[in-house]
């Protein structure tokens, strides 16, 4: 299996089973629309606009709707903004100056799309997000490995970027007993959003994932590994 590497979205992308240029084009399209570090991206232009109502592209509108659906599903833990926004078709209304952040879904969507474009069995990984086409063994934080048979695997935590996850309930950086939360989902998007929510939920994270039948593995600040029932039901906790 030939493994390719390139940079996108500020992360190393690792790819096997497909054309790296095709995958890079997928990441570039998402980054071009939603990067907060490119002043020309649509998201940057929306955030910079002083107009109370804006017309946004169909991609922007559908992604925002998906982000909101995830916010509903997570009980407003993983949200695209810390204040109310309104959408009517392609018209977006929000308080001028309100910062939208769709990174909670965009990177995982790019990974899922790139994995769907693979030519053969393989995987696409970017940061902590991974999607597979065919069974793939994946190394886990703190040691150990797991075989991802389908869908995606995502890890959220503080190890790489520090306390970067904001808890919408407090508006402050999250205090969590976990350093890493790894979740297996039917897609990379599902895994990523669930991992963020479980991280923010702290001690309630394992049970919250079990209620949804999502396998989750937690590494505590002290280095202990805790697996929820769904994970243990799939394999011996490693």
């Amino acid at each position: 299996m030939t493994v390719h590497r390139f940079r996108a979205m500020g992360c190393d992308v690792v790819l096997a089973g497909g054309d790296p240029e095709t995958a890079a084009a997928v990441f570039e399209r998402w980054e071009d629309a939603f990067s907060l570090f490119r002043p020309s991206s649509e998201l940057s232009r929306v955030n910079a606009s002083r107009a109370p109502v804006l017309s946004v592209s169909p991609l922007f509108a559908s992604t925002l709707e998906l982000a909101l659906a995830m916010a509903v599903e997570t009980g407003w833990l993983v949200v695209p903004a810390l204040e109310e926004v309104h959408l009517a078709g392609a018209l977006l209304a929000r308080r001028p100056g309100l910062r939208l952040d769709l990174n909670g879904v965009v990177k995982a969507l790019a990974v899922d799309e790139a994995a769907a474009a693979l030519d053969e069995a393989g995987f696409v990984a970017c940061g902590g997000d991974l999607a597979v086409r065919g069974a793939t063994d994946v190394g886990l934080p703190g040691g150990g490995a797991v075989r991802v048979e389908c869908g995606g695997l995502a890890t959220s935590g503080t190890a790489t970027r520090g306390r970067h996850l904001v808890d919408p309930r407090t508006g402050a950086a999250c205090e969590s007993p976990w350093t890493h939360v790894t979740v297996s989902g039917a897609s990379c998007l599902a895994a990523d959003v669930a991992a963020k929510a479980a991280f923010l939920l702290g001690d309630d994270g394992p049970g919250w994932l079990d209620a949804r039948g999502m396998p989750g593995r937690f590494v505590s600040v002290g280095g202990d590994v805790v697996c929820n029932g769904a994970w243990d039901g799939s394999l011996v906790c490693t």
Binding site: M1, V3, C11, V14, A16, L64, L68, A69, M70, V72, E73, E84, H86, L87, A88, L91, A93, K107, F123, A125, C126, G127, G128, D129, T136, D137, V138, G139, L140, P141, A145, V146, R147, V148, E149, C150, G151, L153, S156, T158, A159, T160, R161, H180, S184, G185, A186, L189, A190, A191, A195, R212, G213, M214, P215, A230, S234, L235, V236, T238
Partner: protein, 84 residues
Amino acid sequence: MAGSRIEAARARARGAKLGLGALATLVLGVAFVGAKAHAAGHTKHRARPLAAPQSFERAVRESVLAGGRIAPPVQPPPVVTSTS
């Protein structure tokens, strides 16, 4: 004779005023409806909160946050999941 001509002129003037008023009201109404229906700057619907329809939310609950399938590893992993 002169009085009846003046009365007739006043009656014609009243009729003309009523006609002009009705015409202006009609033109205003047609223009308003046309603008609501066709002008790009007029919203066709009330703005709704950024909330997914209930049916979509149900579909999301049933499928989007669904668990994946994992198993014990069988070979050294070619990739690792770090943190995002």
